[in-house]
Amino acid sequence: MVEGALLAQADPTAVADGVNTVWTLLVCFLIFFMQPGFAMLEAGQVRAKNVANVLMKNLMDWGMGVVVFFLVGLGVFGLAGMVTTAGVDVSVSSAFAYVNDDTAWVGWLFSAVFAMTAATIVSGAVAERIKFKAYVFYSIGLTAFIYPVIAGFAWGGTGLLSANGYIGEAIGVGYLDFAGATVVHMLGGVAALVGAYMVGPRKGRYDSDGNSQPIPGHSITLAVLGTFILAFGWFGFNVGTQAAVLSVDGDALAFNGAVLGRVAMNTTLGMGGGAVAAALVTTWTDGKPDPLFTASGLLAGLVAVTGAVPHVTWVGGLVLGVIGGAQAPIVYRWVTDVLKIDDVAAVFPVHGSAGAIGTLLIPVFATGGFSATQFAMQAVGIAVITVWTVATTWLVFKVADAAVGLRVDDDDEALGLDRSEHGYTAYPEFVDSAGDSGVAVTTGDAGPMATDGSGVTDDD
């Protein structure tokens, strides 16, 4: 074959590295595209008076997050792996060597897009009442510290939960979480639950008897658009975690088509199973299929298979997706009615519980058969990530509370965070066009809304 003849003249390592790097960059761009997915998903589920605020949080999660993750995050990731593994020297300079090593920067970007996914999960749960400053403070904490430590524990090659780490060595196997069902999603979901608990429910979410009162979001269209954009980016998240398309075997190139196919198939079956299961469960519980819960179920199905995709059979991919989707409406009711936590965008059911269940059950559907040791390691790993996330999230929110306060005051919440925090209206109407005719008739003090950039007056 002509292709074979051409490739035979090239260094197989250079060919494999080139193809794999192009593939990795492509999936980085896909995973980045999950950011607008999250932004639209969350924007649709809040009221129109809080849309610009939730978009602003999503912008800062990414924009500030990449800077923090470059200067701090990936170094903490490396250090977390070193300090929790026997026989590994702890070296700050080698952990941070990537900062001045341009050959490490594609790898940095690959790590960064996962970190930013974890960061942007939280905003949907605490929307419509958290102070912007407090949120930004928390987002820095997650990107610099909370997430990198867990990623270092599980993914650094060394690290607490790897086969070489203290816990992995004690149990005898490493923790399995392929693309981050727990390392990314459950971490974000648990942090979101803790944050939503600490900031308290929105005004009007519970009546005086403590019964939940729905606060409908302003656009199911945006929420479902965001869901599909997220799912599109998720192909990069899951399939792209199989970063090696080609491997070098001796002097020959080997194509890893089977594992790529398994990862792609299980990802797709997971989202399908999740959507169908949520539609059926809500039809059963509410009498009608719920579009928003079906969107949540599609995402929860994806979360449930994200750690499992290369490890399980296609039956496992489908069943995990169904479990993930079916539990989302049920866990949402539990969070809302029993825990009394106002999780605006159902973040914990979609990212938290779905990630834990899906990752715990990997050994049950493993292609190589069930392993009790692996099952024990999965349970321990999930517990470690949960405890770490709860403790550090609580700490960071406590510090934010002491420094700037967690919650906007009641008047600002009623006015909407768009106007009180940013001086914005997401959908302005009856704004005079620029020009001489735009001079407003003064009939009293100007409100906090300003359209000419002259600033926002004090709300009082």
Binding site: S212, P214, T282, D286, D290, L292
Partner: protein, 119 residues
Amino acid sequence: MTDVDTDVALVMAVIRPEKLADTKQALANAGAPSLTVTDVSGRGSQPVMTEQWRGEEYTVDLHQKVKVECVVADAPVDDVVDAIREAAHTGESGDGKIFVLPVADAVQIRTGDTGTDAV
């Protein structure tokens, strides 16, 4: 303010949104094709509805309607009212109401015509 006694009337109807197309046709047939339409919400005799958000029901007692405003000068007002009533009628509560109001004057912005000439 002008102090003219015109023969101009405003027929203002609040109807079901899905009856707008039939109502427009009926008004055209009655010789009063000009109209202004507004999306409105309101409460009348129609019972409250429940809607759902994430499986939780909430009550909606303001129903979405369409307000049709039709200024009439030439055609008989009764014909216009009958046309709307027939076109927008279903027999269920929530069909809406028709109001007829006197109009003191009308001015066409383009030409400056007043009174019945403006309509």
